[in-house]
């Protein structure tokens, strides 16, 4: 049975995020004031074949650990829809 999973991969707290900082610096010039703490990460969507939702989550978390995220600098969260 196929489950649709989404993974959000973001840089860990405290790790510098030049992308976010650059966007943040640019926004006021575009007329957006009052925007803070911009962080840029990755969003990954995939279809995973699993016996049940729990199994799907387990598989995707495993993928994150081994491939999708870089545990040294990134943290991730997994969302599974059925």
């Amino acid at each position: 049975m196929a489950f649709l999973a989404s993974v959000n991969v973001m840089l860990k707290e405290g790790i510098a995020d030049p992308q976010g900082q650059t966007i943040e610096r640019a926004l006021p010039a575009l007329g957006f004031s009052g925007v803070e703490e911009v962080r840029v990460g990755k969003r990954i969507r995939l279809l995973v074949d699993a016996s049940d939702e729990h199994d799907a989550r387990r598989q995707v978390e495993d993928m994150c650990e081994r491939l999708l995220a870089n545990p040294v600098i990134e943290s991730y969260e997994v969302i599974v829809e059925s």
């Binding site: 840089l11 860990k12 510098a16 030049p18 650059t22 870089n70 040294v72 600098i73």
Partner: protein, 730 residues
């Protein structure tokens, strides 16, 4: 001040060093002071194990304007034209996080060059990894190359060459060295905080908790399982910020605003504040509340040793502060006055009006501990040198040839260097793929040649000979492209210096490097030492990477390694010793052996060959030195890159010895048929043995008695590395 005892051990300081600190201060250090000492007295910043040995290196010469001790060496390559040349290592950070480790390594060496007032114009990346059958290694290779590519390309500095060598011993200690060439555009800068009353301006990225104890601690403690805990201190590079920093600083240097300039690297802001004042016999009062921060709630000690990237510290006369701030504003880069030069000889750190550190600058920068580490020639090396070098004849010569050619150490590194912008500045007259890169300096016709070489295997078998061979090969490589070798920078990668055999290897390498540099008159203008490249007690091969710089007179035609036209005589210069197979690529790939003695070097013969190669600028249509893989590989490279084969005359004796021997002090040159007599005559005049061994042309590699089609050779040479890496994962 809150003081701190016993904590010093966690910070990597010995009890004895802690005592010395107390003696310097006449009291126990505060927490902030202890942190500052811990980074400044780390192996990485203080060279406490290596200083004594480094002193023995030749550092002076007519072309050397600035030797070791500053951000980079400065060499006069033509009347009134000066370049900066320096190498750095970023080994441990790159193992922990390959992409960012390598990227910030590039950023660091570029700021070293910038700190001299030079515009960085070329990079080289000598790399060492484990073997590619290991997935983790493939991941490291991919990440490191991507990191260098992404950082170097976006700051707009071409990466024009390097090395990529794969050996088991580097599996858990990859070496990521980077060398950078810069050109002085307006004026040479010095890191001397002259003039009490002048102010210190911190320019660049905001300060976060990046690499608290990062490089210093990481680079000064042996790796083990616990290193995982150090991981959060990974630093992320911001090439855009670096680009702005470069442009802003160069504009300010051109305006003559800076009294002094230094980069912030290992040791954070503790480093320039103490080093610049120590050099000038001044002091500095640092108000760290004015350091622009990325994170709230940082402790004073964190601000003082944070290794946040892309920052420089400038000393400026008060009257010109606004000018500095304006230029930085234009370049959209932050800058703040964070301190003042004082007549005292102390670095005072103030936070919330409270003095949190008050230290003699010399104590931090100059008077760190120096160790005469115990060294001892290990018994294993004698046994190793006695062993069979693996020089037995192969079953089939052709198989051996392809085995060697397809070794990742030999095959084309195109997969790597095509990921690097190696063309920007329109100065890369010869890029990656040759013996040395040839760079035409911006807005001039002055040309310099640069290369890096570090035969770890030879140094493992005999560190003294290996180091001499490294210097000889690098000099030969620049001579091959027609340049006169001028000066050396280096990156010395070793295991744990607290072990007598590692320290012996280090001492021997220094001795060999010094002797060779003296003989070839190529002084050492600076470099970098990376110890503790050791995991679970297993050390890397002693790996001195030599960065050689040479100059080419204006108007000399660029000369590459490729056979450029058919029917040209191929002349082999120098003597081939059939027994120079110890530590060779043949022995390793065909017999799986690394033993015996490395090739024998006659440095005088090397010097004569170099003179000849330089003299042959006008006659030789190509030149290439047989190094790893010997004549067989050198001939194959010249054929593949030139797109034409060759035919060798018959030979007697064991062909595999002649073809794969790695005897130094040799080069292959080609020339127009009418010129061959002249070439041989000049060789004779220079006392260099010379022999016509064949002619260019055709679509086969005609090794005496064994013809191999050029197409299949090209396929293997160009494809081998890509194939082994293709299973690599982004």
């Amino acid at each position: 001040m809150t003081t701190a005892t016993s904590l010093h051990r966690d910070l990597g300081l010995t009890d004895d060093e802690f005592q010395q600190i107390c003696d310097h201060l006449g009291r126990e250090p505060s927490y902030t002071e202890l942190a500052m000492f811990s980074v400044m007295w780390s192996e990485h910043c203080s060279y406490k194990s290596s200083r004594g040995h480094l002193k023995t290196l030749p550092t002076e010469g007519p072309h050397i304007l600035v030797g070791p001790g500053e951000g980079a060496g400065i060499i006069e390559v033509a009347p009134g034209v000066a370049v900066a040349w320096k190498a750095e290592s970023h080994n441990h950070p790159s193992f922990v996080e390959p992409f960012n480790g390598a990227a910030t390594g590039v950023g660091g060496i570029v700021r070293d060059i910038l700190s001299m007032g030079a515009r960085p114009i070329a990079l080289m990346d000598p790399l060492r990894f484990g073997t590619l059958d290991d997935a983790r290694t493939r991941y490291l290779v991919d990440g490191v190359v991507h990191g260098i590519s992404s950082y170097g390309n976006s700051i707009g500095v071409p990466t024009v060459g390097g090395e990529a060598i794969f050996e088991e011993c580097y599996a858990e200690n990859p070496l990521v060295n980077v060398a950078c060439l810069g050109v002085i555009e307006d004026r040479l800068m010095h890191g001397r905080a002259e003039g009490p009353g002048n102010v210190a301006i911190l320019i660049g990225s905001s300060t976060g908790r990046d690499g608290i104890g990062g490089a210093s601690v990481l680079a000064s403690a042996e790796f083990d399982e616990t290193s995982a805990e150090k991981r959060p201190s990974v630093q992320v590079g911001d090439p855009f910020a670096e680009k702005l920093l470069i442009e802003a600083c160069l504009e300010l240097i051109a305006r003559g605003v800076f009294v002094a300039l230094q980069d912030l690297g290992a040791g954070g802001i503790s480093c320039p504040t103490s080093e610049m004042t120590s050099k000038a016999n001044t002091g500095m009062r640092v108000d760290i509340d004015r350091v622009h921060r990325r994170e709230p709630g940082m402790e004073p000690f964190e601000v003082m040793i944070s290794e946040s990237q892309e920052r420089m510290l400038a000393v400026v006369e008060p009257a010109r502060v606004d000018e500095v701030l304006d230029v930085c504003r234009k370049w959209e880069i932050e800058a703040n006055v964070v301190g003042e030069v004082t007549p005292s000889d102390r670095v005072e750190v103030v936070s919330d009006g409270e003095v949190v550190a008050d230290v003699p600058a010399d104590a931090l920068a100059e008077e760190g501990p120096v160790y005469e580490r115990h060294l001892e020639r290990p018994g294993w090396i004698d046994r190793l040198q006695m062993e069979d070098p693996g020089d037995a004849a192969p079953d089939r010569l052709e198989d051996a040839f392809f085995a060697v050619l397809s070794s990742p150490n030999i095959a084309s590194k195109r997969w790597i260097w095509e990921q690097y912008d190696h063309m920007i500045f329109l100065g890369t007259l010869q890029g990656p793929g040759g013996d040395a890169a040839v760079i035409r300096l911006p807005n001039s016709d002055v040309r310099v040649a640069i290369t890096t070489d570090g035969p770890g295997r030879y140094c493992y078998l005999d560190p003294y000979e290996g180091a001499r061979l490294a210097v000889a090969e690098s000099a030969r490589n620049v001579a091959c492209v027609g340049a006169r070798p001028l000066a050396v920078t280096n990156c010395l990668n070793f295991g744990n210096p607290e072990k007598p055999d590692v320290m012996w290897q280090f001492a021997e390498v220094i001795r060999g490097m010094g002797d060779a540099c003296r003989s070839l008159v190529t002084p050492v203008t600076g470099g970098n030492v990376s110890f503790y490249n050791e995991t679970k007690g297993r050390a890397i091969y002693p790996t001195p990477v030599i960065g050689m710089l040479g100059s080419i007179p204006e108007g000399v035609p660029a000369r590459g390694l490729a056979f450029v036209s058919d029917n040209e005589p191929i002349v082999l210069l120098g003597r081939t010793d059939d027994n120079d197979l110890g530590g060779s690529e043949f022995a390793k790939t065909v017999h799986g052996v690394v033993a015996g003695r490395p090739p024998r070097l006659d440095i005088e013969a090397e010097a004569r060959l170099i003179d000849l190669l330089v003299e042959l600028r006008d006659l030789a249509s190509s030149a290439h030195d047989p190094s790893a893989g010997g004549l067989a590989v050198a001939l194959a490279e010249a054929a593949v890159v030139g797109g034409r084969g060759f035919k060798l005359g018959p030979r007697n004796g064991e062909l595999h010895r002649w073809l794969f021997s790695e005897s130094p002090s040799r080069a292959l040159v080609t020339c127009r048929p009418d010129d061959v007599e002249e070439v041989l005559e000049r060789a004779d005049r220079n006392g260099v043995p010379a022999e016509v061994i064949g002619t260019t042309g055709g679509d086969v590699l005609g090794f005496a008695g064994c013809d191999i089609p050029l197409t299949s050779v090209t396929e293997v040479y160009e494809g081998a590395l890509v194939e082994t890496l293709s299973s690599s994962i982004d």
